[in-house]
């Protein structure tokens, strides 16, 4: 049941804002509620079903692949004694990276009071969580004996007790990813509570019960809001160094080893910025689809998209700098193995992957300097896809080309993924989109209460309107 609010607003007499409005269409809070709740209150459209079934099919392929691999062995992958990590860890790093944009948008931009984030932060955070779920699965399934994966946790046991190896970067991963997932989930859910209450108050029947349960009895009291804002600030302040730490820790999987091409100190910042870059690529992809499919053009405006394009150009350039730095350090190290590793990365048997990476990550985003490109949604969408592909290749290049040719020439080998590995990669995309589409369908995918704070003022507030979100 919805409450029809009487439209009492007078005509907008305020001067036009200096910049295009964040939210278009002169929305009132009631419009916001109605618009954003609409997709979750009506039946799903054909486009949603098409996307959902496709994602589900991909997920099913992934589930078959994982099941077959668990029953048969890691041998169903294309790995060998030389290349012990391939698609799985590439996908792991890729997905962790994807997650970073969500946290960046919700936490870092919150701290910097960037108001344009309000339209995209909810779904970006959801994307983070789903991406981290996809990421977390890969270290699990890449284990030879995944049914013993709980051994990586330091739980009390009857083996002495025998603990875990705190010096292993893989264990750091467990804690970093675990913390990242937990904090992201908490942050996301706390952000959802007021909106869940909104949905609750518009709903009836079972739906009301479910959202009533999920909204924790939220009533929008000023005392709660006060604490709520403080908590969000604190969580944002925690999430900001956390997001930097997570990909730094992931990079130590490589940086702390002796493999030439992995063993390099530039990796942590390189990985973090790459993660932000790839994450924004993915956010752009999703937002461009979502605004179209869910009819949210008024909320995710060109201004948002332009802002994200700027981030993309900026981070893409830093990524380019990181690639150059890496080459310089390899040369400057004087180590023949390091130099060889990078020569091989560029001009060796798998050199094509390196050049795909450079073309996608460094060259393609530079097109966004052009206004024509920036104004074409199709071009932006294409670039965002290209960035995703490029960043996937970046991880592939780092992991595989370094392992393929290390110290002893006798053990040099190649790597080609198997059907099962491809199935698991496709499956992870299937899982990601399945979860994301379910999220779009059942949760308000734009933060209503935050949008309401950034609506253009409809009347003079005087001294009252100083505070902004």
């Amino acid at each position: 049941m919805t409450i029809e609010a009487p439209v009492l607003l007078p005509a907008d007499e305020a001067a036009p804002p200096p910049r295009p409005a964040l939210i278009q269409g002169d929305k009132s809070p009631a419009d916001v509620t109605r618009d954003i709740c609409k997709p979750i209150e009506r039946r799903a459209g054909a486009l949603w079903w098409a996307g959902f079934l496709t994602a589900l099919a991909a997920l099913a392929f992934g589930i078959w692949s994982v099941t077959y691999q668990f029953m048969t062995g890691i041998g169903t992958w294309g790995l060998n004694r030389t290349v012990g990590w391939g698609f799985a860890i590439t996908n792991f790093v890729f997905w962790v990276g994807i997650g970073h944009a969500g946290t960046l948008i919700s936490a870092v931009l919150l701290l910097f009071r960037q108001k344009w984030r309000t339209s995209i932060n909810r779904s970006a955070e959801a994307m983070t969580i789903f991406a981290v779920i996809c990421a977390g699965l890969f270290p699990l399934i890449h284990m030879g004996r995944p049914w013993l994966a709980y051994w990586v946790f330091p739980y009390p046991n009857f083996r002495g007790p025998l603990w875990v190896n705190w010096r292993s970067a893989l264990l750091w991963d467990v804690f970093a990813i675990g913390t990242y997932f937990t904090i992201s989930l908490v942050f996301w859910y706390i952000g959802l509570i007021p909106d869940l209450a909104t949905v609750r108050d518009r709903a009836s029947g079972l739906r009301k019960k479910i959202f009533g349960f999920l909204s924790f009895g939220w009533d929008g009291s000023a005392r709660t809001w006060s604490r709520y804002e403080m908590a969000c600030m604190l969580l944002a302040a925690l999430a900001t160094p956390l997001v930097v730490s997570v990909h730094s820790v992931v990079s130590t999987d490589f940086a702390t080893s002796v493999v030439p091409g992995w063993h390099t100190t530039v990796l942590p910042p390189y990985f973090v910025i790459g993660a932000v870059f790839s994450g924004f690529g993915m956010v752009l992809t999703l937002m461009l689809i979502a605004r179209k499919v869910m009819g949210l053009e008024d909320y995710i405006t060109r201004r948002h998209i332009h802002a994200m394009c700027k981030v993309l150009v900026f981070t893409g350039s830093i990524v380019g700098l990181a690639y150059t730095t890496e080459l310089f350090v390899a040369w400057y190290s004087g180590s023949a193995y390091e130099r060889f590793a990078f020569n091989n990365r560029m001009f060796g048997a798998a050199g094509w992957a390196y050049w795909i990476m450079v073309a996608c990550n460094v060259v393609a985003p530079q097109l966004l300097w052009l206004r024509r490109v920036r104004n074409s949604l199709v071009a932006i969408f294409a670039i965002s896809i290209v960035v995703n592909i490029g960043m996937w290749f970046e991880r592939f290049v780092i992991i595989v080309t370094s392992l393929q040719r290390d110290y002893l020439p006798s053990t040099w080998a190649g790597y080609a993924p198997s059907l099962v590995e491809c199935g698991e990669m496709v499956g992870s995309f299937g899982l990601f989109f399945t979860l994301f589409l379910l999220f779009c369908r059942f949760f308000p995918m734009i933060s209503m209460f935050e949008i309401k704070t950034v609506l253009e003022p409809t009347e003079g507030h005087g001294a009252d309107s100083e505070g902004e979100a």
């Binding site: 007790p161 509570i193 929008g220 969580l235 704070t453 100083e466």
Partner: protein, 172 residues
């Protein structure tokens, strides 16, 4: 002792703020205000003190740091010292990443739980029905009256004067 609560329901943020300011001027204790989004500037009018969540967050983080560092040291150097790659038993630099993650984890969880506990929010809790509109586009102001010092329609009139679409009173 029973109090009378006067509730004014507004449709514009500014209306509520003006009503609240008047209450403040007339020293009428504002119990709370309900809004679809945080209202800035309302805290001093209601008399909400700065939240102590910061302290909770700090203590949570401190606990995480301490537990992580001690536990890693205890398991690696005291309980079962194991030679791992020739590294010292007490490999402090290697313990830092996990110490950091645990700091963030416990700080974040402590903050979140403190928020829920302090605001009395839990799964399945029922929200007051009367204020339903405040999660959409309405703003409610609740003013308490200790003893029947106000004229019966006085509060209602004041709320309406500031643009309230609804106003009522109830006994607590």
């Amino acid at each position: 002792m029973q109090r009378r609560l006067h509730v004014g329901m507004f449709e514009r943020e500014g209306d509520l703020m003006r009503a609240a300011r008047e209450c403040r001027e007339r020293s009428l204790p504002i119990v709370d205000a309900y809004s679809p989004y945080p209202l800035h500037g309302i805290d001093p009018l209601i008399g909400i003190a700065r939240s102590r969540l910061t302290l909770v967050c700090f203590l949570g983080g401190l606990a995480g740091l301490t537990i992580a560092l001690f536990f890693q040291y205890w398991t690696s150097a005291l309980d079962w010292p194991t030679n791992v790659g020739g590294k010292p038993y007490d490999s402090l630099p290697a313990f830092l990443p996990i110490a950091f993650e645990m700091t963030v984890l416990l700080a974040g969880l402590a903050t979140a739980f403190a928020l829920l506990a302090r605001s009395r929010l839990w799964p399945g809790k029922r929200a007051p029905k009367e204020l339903r509109g405040t999660t959409d586009n309405r703003y409610a102001l609740v003013v308490a009256e200790e003893s029947a010092e106000l004229a019966p329609r006085e509060m209602h009139d004041m709320f309406t004067r500031h643009g309230a679409v609804e106003a009522w009173e109830e006994l607590e």
